[in-house]
């Protein structure tokens, strides 16, 4: 656990230093006339400082030998993340109807490993319900693709 925390603290320190440098370039101004970089500069500097203190507290041996992920528990969340990201990309290309149907299919097959009847029923009815609820009743202009 500590190893991951050290990595997180190092990344946060790096973000703090980088953001402070960018903020300084934006224009610090002075206390009388603060520039656009004034507030973000102080925030970034504090982030770098606190994160480096946090990094220091995470040095040394790990008393809690708990792995970040037990066995393969990371697999399903990672699959869900990738599927969601692909869904966001496909929305603009193939439209809401097709991409939503595909998301249901992939989610229920890959992530949940449901039975085929459940997969087909939920994917078809789910897409239809969401389409009716949002497009017909709530009149949300959802992206259209080749089919719908």
């Amino acid at each position: 656990m500590k190893r991951w925390e050290r990595i997180a603290a190092a990344i946060l320190t790096f973000i703090g230093v980088g953001a402070a440098a960018i903020a300084y370039d934006l224009g610090f101004g002075d206390f009388n006339h603060p520039g656009p970089g004034f507030f973000p500069f102080w925030l970034s500097a504090i982030l770098a400082l606190v994160s480096s203190v946090y990094l220091l507290t995470r040095l040394g041996a790990d008393s809690r030998r708990v792995p970040l992920w037990e066995r393969d528990t990371w697999v399903r969340p990672s699959q869900a993340g990738v599927v969601m990201f692909l869904y966001a990309l496909s929305l603009a290309w193939i439209g809401f109807f097709s991409s939503t149907f595909l998301l249901f299919l992939v989610w229920l097959i890959l992530i949940e490993r449901e039975k085929w009847l459940t997969i087909i029923l939920v994917s078809t009815l789910g897409t239809a319900c969401l389409y009716l609820a949002f497009t017909v009743f709530l009149r949300v202009p959802l992206p259209r693709g080749a089919i719908f």
């Binding site: 002075d30 206390f31 009388n32 656009p36 973000p40 992920w69 969601m84 990309l89 929305l91 959802l142």
Partner: protein, 505 residues
């Protein structure tokens, strides 16, 4: 009589058919998300923010969103008692004794006491809100930019202090939230900040995209780590109305829980989760038979369930009167008000008395609705628990996506939400609390504006923050809290050090 006339006017507005309907929708949805594990009130409110925008009426939409928040507190107990899984975070401790009671065939008494305790505490909390909010609001009118800056710092500090085990992690999250709020156009000079030439970042991050990503998707990703398997207590639920003996046992537990919940709910970062944990701990401490706790003690259900409802009502006070939201769900309602063009704060009660009092009045009505929804209709919620989570999860992520898309009809917002979802999941894994990040993001613009205004007024003299008495007092508390946490951390480290042995081995 005159003192109550604004409240009566609020009731007149709250009982119009449209507002009553949306109070009922809010209470029902709230109970549903409370019952369903894996979806909290903050995520649900963020899901429904686009709908509240579409409603167009600020009073109606806030009545609905408030109903979701306090409704979730009622619903959470059902899952805890029957499934031994908290429906939402504030019902974690209810599992301990509630599930044991259900296993002994006393599920009805546990559910009934939880609902009645929730009703008493929730209504008590609204009474407190009715009387505390107006004077606090009047006092806050004296606040200038310096006072607001210090108050916001105190709010953030309290939120980080109370939100999790590690103060330093909370502070990091709060600063990250403040930094994220600076992305986009500088409100004073019009310069763009941290956009890296990307058009999508020029308006800054949207609150909804951030909230749904961190809390909606993030929660789903975390829940996906384990296949949800739980044993539902399926014995027939009877005798929901507590017996005289039950009342005698738990009446003071309800009172204690309500008071603890109300005062904890007032604090930023306090909220319903801490209130219920504290109430359970106090109940065990004052009990003559502490050994009963964990084996099915009715007090162990009555007190935390009362506390989380009182806290839910009380947490509206700092948001409505000071403009400081105390927890993520309230921050979502804060954002909903901003979307509607209403700025929560001391002027709210003066500028929008109709909204202020109608929301309070609707909370009295909503608590009655929830009692009806949760006692006679408990069987319906039990049926809902039988819908497998594997089917619900894709629906939830899709509704999140449509909600985010519908705000600006922009697909890139969905992609951004997924990125925040992944970030939320990783931060959860590393045990970073997300509450301070979201609160800081909401308060970021207010903090920057008050800092700049205060410096402009004082012509660059930063002593303005310590020469104004209210500001100095508020900052004094912040400093005291930092010192206490440093000394406490040093003390615990010192105590944990191994004692060197005198003799040489």
């Amino acid at each position: 009589m005159d003192a109550f006339s604004p409240l009566w006017n609020g009731f007149a507005l709250a009982v119009t058919p449209g507002n009553l309907l949306f109070a009922l929708i809010g209470a029902t949805l709230g109970t549903a998300v409370g019952v369903l594990p894996g979806l909290g009130p903050a995520a649900t409110i963020s899901l429904l923010l686009p709908l509240s925008y579409a409603l167009g009426n600020s009073v109606t939409s806030i009545i609905m969103l408030a109903g979701i928040y306090y409704g979730a507190m009622y619903g959470g107990s059902t899952t805890s008692i029957l499934l031994n899984i908290p429906g939402e975070a504030a019902s974690v401790v209810t599992c301990i004794d509630g599930y044991q009671m259900a296993k002994k065939g006393r599920a009805g008494a546990a559910l009934g006491m939880a609902a009645i305790g929730s009703f008493i505490a929730g209504t008590g909390g609204v009474v407190g809100l009715t009387f505390v909010a107006p004077p606090l609001s009047a006092f806050a009118l004296k606040f200038g930019p310096a006072e607001y800056f210090s108050l916001t710092i105190l709010g953030l500090m309290l939120a980080t202090y109370l939100s999790g085990k590690s103060v330093i992690k909370g502070v990091i999250m709060a600063i990250l939230g403040l930094l994220l709020a600076t992305v986009g156009m500088d409100p004073v000079t019009g310069n763009t900040r941290y956009t890296f030439g990307l058009m999508i970042l020029e308006d800054g991050f949207d609150f909804l995209t951030l909230g749904m990503g961190l809390f909606g998707l993030g929660e789903i990703f975390t829940t996906l780590e384990q296949k949800m398997k739980a044993e539902l207590v399926t014995t027939k639920i009877t005798n929901l109305w507590p017996t005289l003996k039950d009342w005698a046992i738990s009446k003071w537990s309800v009172v204690r829980g309500s008071l603890i919940g109300f005062f904890v709910g007032l604090l930023p970062g306090g909220g319903a989760v801490i209130a219920s944990l504290l109430a359970y701990a106090v109940e065990k401490r004052v009990s003559k038979e502490p050994e009963k706790f964990g084996t099915g003690a009715l007090e162990g259900v009555a007190s935390p369930e009362s506390a989380n409802n009182a806290a839910a009502s009380a947490s509206f006070i700092p948001m409505l009167t000071l403009g400081i939201p105390g927890n993520p769900a309230i921050a979502m309602i804060f954002a909903a008000l901003l979307i509607q063009g209403v700025t929560p704060g001391p002027l709210l009660i003066k500028e929008h008395p109709d909204l202020f009092w109608a929301v309070i009045a609707s909370m009295y009505i909503g608590n009655v609705m929830l009692l009806v929804l949760n006692l006679p209709l408990v069987g319906l919620w039990v049926q809902m628990l039988k819908v497998p989570y594997s089917i619900l999860a894709p629906f939830i992520v899709l509704i999140c996506s449509i909600g985010v898309y519908s705000m600006k009809n922009d697909v890139s917002d969905v992609a951004m939400m997924v990125i925040f979802g992944v970030l939320g999941y990783i931060l959860r894994k590393l045990e970073f609390e997300l509450g301070p990040l979201l609160l800081a993001f909401v308060l970021g613009r207010i903090l920057e504006r008050s800092l700049r205004q205060a410096l402009l007024i004082s012509r660059g003299d930063i002593s303005i923050f310590v020469t104004k008495p209210i500001s100095a007092f508020l900052l004094g508390i912040v400093v005291l809290m930092i010192l206490i946490s440093i000394f406490w951390s040093m003390y615990t480290r010192f105590k944990a050090r191994p004692v060197p042995s005198n003799g040489r081995a």
